[in-house]
Amino acid sequence: MIDFKRLTIVSGHYGSGKTNIAINLAFDLKKLYNNVAIADIDIVNPYFRTKDSEELLKSAGIKLICSPYANSNVDIPALPQEIYSITDDLSMRAILDVGGDERGALALGRVAPKIKQENNYDMFYVINKFRPLTSDIDGAIEVFSEIENACKIKFTGIINNSNLGKETTIEDVLNSVDFASKLAEKLGLPLVLNTVDEKLFEQLKDKVSNLYPLVMQKKI
């Protein structure tokens, strides 16, 4: 488990798997603290939202902060009004699931000044090297910079979530760790986690450091 700050922001290229990671981290956080929320501040994508896991989060006692339009098929960009509770309620611990790439990350800029003022956060860059626009170091850094510029907050770590869906092999994961290490080194940031489908965890746990078993959320 990672060493949580009060706020943990998860961002990355769309389709990098950040929503799934955000939900997994929210469950970890709930083991440590009582007042835990997950905030979906994606204003771009009408599909595959945090709200898909609403029941699961509710039953675990994790508060879901999301737009009233999420999963309603009303395809308009909107932020939840409760977004300010994230920065105003200092007794709350939260995971922030930020929308994909620079357009999605723009919304985070609204609360960025307060987040930076409080200075008790981490922001992780989720990378999947098997996604075409982030498959090389240059591409990954380009998306990284676009997100930072859009949301006005600097990343503090890298989460390697490289996978090919159900076809992911042990070798794929091992190769991706080299890639993510190089990326982290180039960006001067720690490689916080290497995530892997929980089904592959046992086979990899002695070979990869900071290995994190991901519970896959059902998409439909």
Binding site: P46, F48, D75, P132, S135, L164, G165
Partner: protein, 354 residues
């Protein structure tokens, strides 16, 4: 083996188009196909291509007309309501014999409808799609890999026959992520001596136009175009069969419906029911013969569709009353479940044909 990447169907279309030599994309955003435009916006400037977000779908299709007339590979993409807006331009392109790739990632209709997947633009795509006598080649992918491969094929066929090709996908195909290999055969370059590229004082003017004020001349161009369509019908029909060798019941389904149907067929086979699948890959030209042949050996054909039943009409024409053709469907953005299809198979096996 080549390295795979994890892509959304929409991204696979965009990347495959670039690999097919397309350097000109014109579009207007609409869910659930916006990733095509977003991907092009990122990639085209890096490879010396053009990405342009037009002020409307109508503007976009007319930009496609212009680039196509200049002999370049060009595409546009949209979802159902946006394709309706492009209809005029698509008809003009047919009238001027201009090739291009048009992508329709369908959503529920009619009207603004919704943003969930649908196959209810089948009629629009296969019966012309706008005014006048014409057809498009219509390709129906059923995986992210096919989204890529049929995009390449679509450009190639469009150039070869001077027609528009349409990728008829749906919201699930556009949004789903699957590993895909982009190491496939690239589209053949086709000579375009008809293109408007400047005479350089060395040849006669080329004219690209869909206006024919003399009716006998317009009739002649239409008849000649339909002679070309006959050649397409003979050479370009594509479909896939699954477990049809001993099948007594035939499922007909394309795109996402075919994936659902396969799950139901596997389950029915476990129960000892002899059922197979014909999956049209070209919806126009339609695999008429495959269904006519099937009608000689199966007792019923079930058309599984995300519409009120559109492809079913082409199946009925193909089998000409020989066997009952029934419908198993959901519409408006809903997807038939494998259980629903299995129920239809069991019903057919017990002799029901309602």
């Amino acid at each position: 083996m080549s390295e795979k990447v994890l892509m959304k169907g929409n991204e696979a279309i965009a990347e495959a188009a670039i690999k097919a030599g397309c350097r000109h994309y014109f579009g207007y955003p609409i869910t659930p196909q916006t990733e095509i435009a977003a991907y092009m916006a990122k990639r085209m400037p890096k490879i010396g291509g053009t990405f342009l977000q037009a002020e409307s779908e109508i503007a976009a299709i007319n930009m496609v007309y212009g680039v196509s007339a200049a002999g370049k590979r060009v595409m546009t993409s949209s979802s159902s309501p946006g394709i309706s807006l492009k209809g005029e331009g698509i008809s003009y392109m047919a009238g001027a014999d201009l090739p291009a790739l048009i992508v329709n990632v369908q959503r529920g209709g009619p009207g603004l409808g919704g943003i969930q997947p649908s196959q209810s633009d089948y009629f629009q795509a296969t019966k012309g799609g706008a005014h006048g006598d014409f057809h498009m080649i219509v390709l129906a992918p059923a995986s992210v890999q096919e989204m890529a491969e049929l995009t390449v094929k679509g450009f190639e066929l469009a150039d070869k026959y001077r027609v528009t090709s349409m990728i008829l996908a749906d919201g699930t195909m556009g949004q789903m992520m699957e590993p895909v290999s982009l190491d496939f055969e690239l589209a053949e370059e086709v000579e375009k001596p008809w293109a408007v590229t400047g005479t350089k004082m060395g040849r006669k003017h080329n004219i690209v136009n869909s206006l024919f004020l003399k009716p006998d001349q317009l009739e002649k161009t239409n008849i000649e175009r339909f002679e070309r369509y006959e050649i397409i019908k003979q050479n370009e029909v594509r479909y896939e069969e699954y477990l049809m060798e001993d099948a007594e019941i035939c499922i007909a389904a394309f795109g996402i419906a075919a994936r659902v149907a396969r799950n139901a067929i596997d389950e029915a086979r476990k129960q000892g029911i002899k059922v197979g699948l014909i999956r049209p890959i070209t919806l126009w030209p339609f695999p008429e013969k495959a269904f006519a042949d099937a009608s000689n050996k199966v007792k019923q054909i079930i058309s599984v569709e995300l519409s009120m039943g559109q492809m079913i009409e082409d199946i009925r024409l193909s089998v000409n009353g020989k066997v009952p053709v029934t419908l198993c469907n959901r519409t408006g953005g809903m997807i038939p479940s494998p259980e629903q299809v299995l129920k239809a198979i069991i019903n057919a096996n017990e002799g029901g044909n309602e």
